[in-house]
């Protein structure tokens, strides 16, 4: 699976590629992002971003393993674009939120490219996509890993597990807690609130590093 970008304007092209790289990094997805220098027939297993403002018409996709997003400066072209049956339509200038929504729409295409944390839990080897891991807490016998669907115990100590987590989205917020910054809703006072309702108190020594990590995360997430 790869992402193909065909945009006429080099500035818009650079902007979209920058956002796509940020999305891939924050979602922990291993995918190539390739720029198409000239219109070419679509390749199988691709997510294609195509410029409707260019003189070339978008490709007609027959393959269910492809997604097509049409991009234009003119929002009115959204209606015309239906004749190509795209997966989505993006207006320029691009926004990270809209791009994020667009990528969610074709989750089935990139899901197999998600990087995973391999753990041994209850004698079963399980690969949890980093994107789905919300937080982990250290316990006497190892650690508990919370995902949005389940809670898994592992014998591995938290510090060891932490070393295998990507630092862009995970941070240690207390001696026994590591959180995924993608799920942080708010940081107030000495607490960090996750969007599943969990409140985790911030360790005195961790507060400034958590705030800094969160600011860096937000810069990337909102493409500031």
């Amino acid at each position: 699976m790869q992402i193909l970008v065909y945009l006429y304007d080099p500035v818009e092209q650079a902007s979209l590629c920058h956002m796509l790289r940020a999305w891939a990094e924050l979602s922990c997805v291993a995918m190539d992002i390739a720029i198409m220098q000239a219109p070419a027939p679509p390749q199988a297993q691709s997510i294609i971003f195509w410029d409707l403002d260019s003189p070339y018409p978008p490709p007609v996709l027959q393959d269910a393993g492809c997604a097509l997003f049409l991009c234009s400066r003119d929002p009115q072209r959204a209606i015309d674009s239906y004749s190509y049956h795209p997966t989505g339509f993006l207006t320029k200038p691009f926004s990270m939120d809209k791009l994020w929504d667009a990528m969610q729409r074709c989750a089935s295409l990139w899901f197999s490219s998600l990087k995973r944390l391999e753990i041994l839990s209850d004698r079963l080897r399980i690969g949890i996509p980093f994107k789905n891991l919300i937080w982990a807490e250290g316990t006497r016998r190892g650690c508990l890993i919370h995902t949005s669907h389940q809670c898994l115990s592992a014998r591995e100590p938290l510090y060891q597990l932490e070393q295998r987590l990507p630092a862009t989205i995970f941070t240690r917020c207390q001696r026994s807690f590591v959180v995924n910054l993608s799920y942080v809703q708010e940081i107030t006072g000495n607490s960090l609130f996750l969007n599943d309702g969990t409140e985790i108190s911030l360790g005195r020594g961790n507060k400034s590093s958590v705030l800094e990590a969160y600011q860096q995360f937000c810069r990337l997430r909102y493409s500031q």
Binding site: P75, A78, I79, Y82, F89, F111, L124, I126, P129
Partner: protein, 243 residues
């Protein structure tokens, strides 16, 4: 193809009648069996969907008294309903909104019979997965089952048993053959003798899938971890694709 339910939601009766005529004419020409439903407001439509009414394709006007078509579509998606929506409206200002609610097409009034036919051509050639059919020879006749109606299939005494809400169908087709014919991400071979429709799974209990009809479908113990991961991945994909 089972009878497809097509709904038209428009506050103007003349528009509903005109569109219905075009749809009926298309269905007749293409030998499609359809059932038409009519709604004069978004509120009526939502009430019907909250009841037991099933709609596969909806032609939705945008400017209506009360709830607008766009707001109605947002509420349909918020209900988790994945029916195909085609906006049929005089307005050209809601192209972006239509993508936001995952509409399949956008018709601008006044439209011609050919425009409606093109929309329906696309719909029928990209039938949503739950409406796809599985053909099986059972009890002396060919039967067509919508994939969505299958809970699971198991093998018993060299025959395959297809479990549905209406009971069990027995066929001599092998499970490998049925799995190939179904070819759907919603179906998982969880055991040598079981193929399960994940849409009907409520959770995992030990080494079994707990089904919506409270039966238990065994998971191969040798592949438990892989199958558990596949099921969890499937739930993520399903949830993310519908956001």
């Amino acid at each position: 193809m089972p009878e497809l339910s097509i709904a038209i939601c428009d506050d103007l009766e003349a528009e509903r009648i005109s569109l219905a005529r075009m749809i009926k004419s298309y269905a007749q020409a293409h030998g499609q069996s359809i059932h038409l439903q009519f709604y004069s407001s978004g509120e009526n439509l939502l009430a019907a969907l909250q009841g037991s009414n099933s709609i596969h394709l909806l032609f939705l006007d945008i400017y209506m008294p009360g709830l607008s078509g766009v707001e109605t579509a947002r509420r349909i998606r918020a209900m988790g309903n994945d029916l195909s929506i085609i906006f049929a409206t005089t307005s050209q200002d809601h192209g972006l909104d239509s993508f936001e609610v995952r509409a399949s097409d956008y018709l601008v009034k006044p439209f011609r019979h050919e425009d409606v036919a093109a929309c329906l051509d696309w719909f029928f050639s990209h039938i949503p997965e739950p409406l796809r059919l599985l053909s099986v020879y059972s009890e002396g006749e060919w039967q067509k089952l919508p994939l969505s109606s299958i809970y699971y299939i198991d093998v018993y005494d060299h025959q395959s048993r297809i479990h549905t809400p209406r009971g069990m169908l027995i066929t001599r087709r092998g499970l490998d053959d049925l799995e190939t014919a179904i070819d759907s991400q919603d179906f998982l071979r969880c055991h040598r003798s079981f193929l399960v429709n994940l849409n009907h799974v409520t959770g995992i209990e030990g080494n079994d899938f707990q089904m919506t009809d409270n039966t238990l479908v065994p998971i191969s113990s040798a592949n438990l971890a892989r199958i558990r991961s596949q099921f969890i991945d499937w739930t993520y994909i399903k949830a993310w694709s519908q956001t």
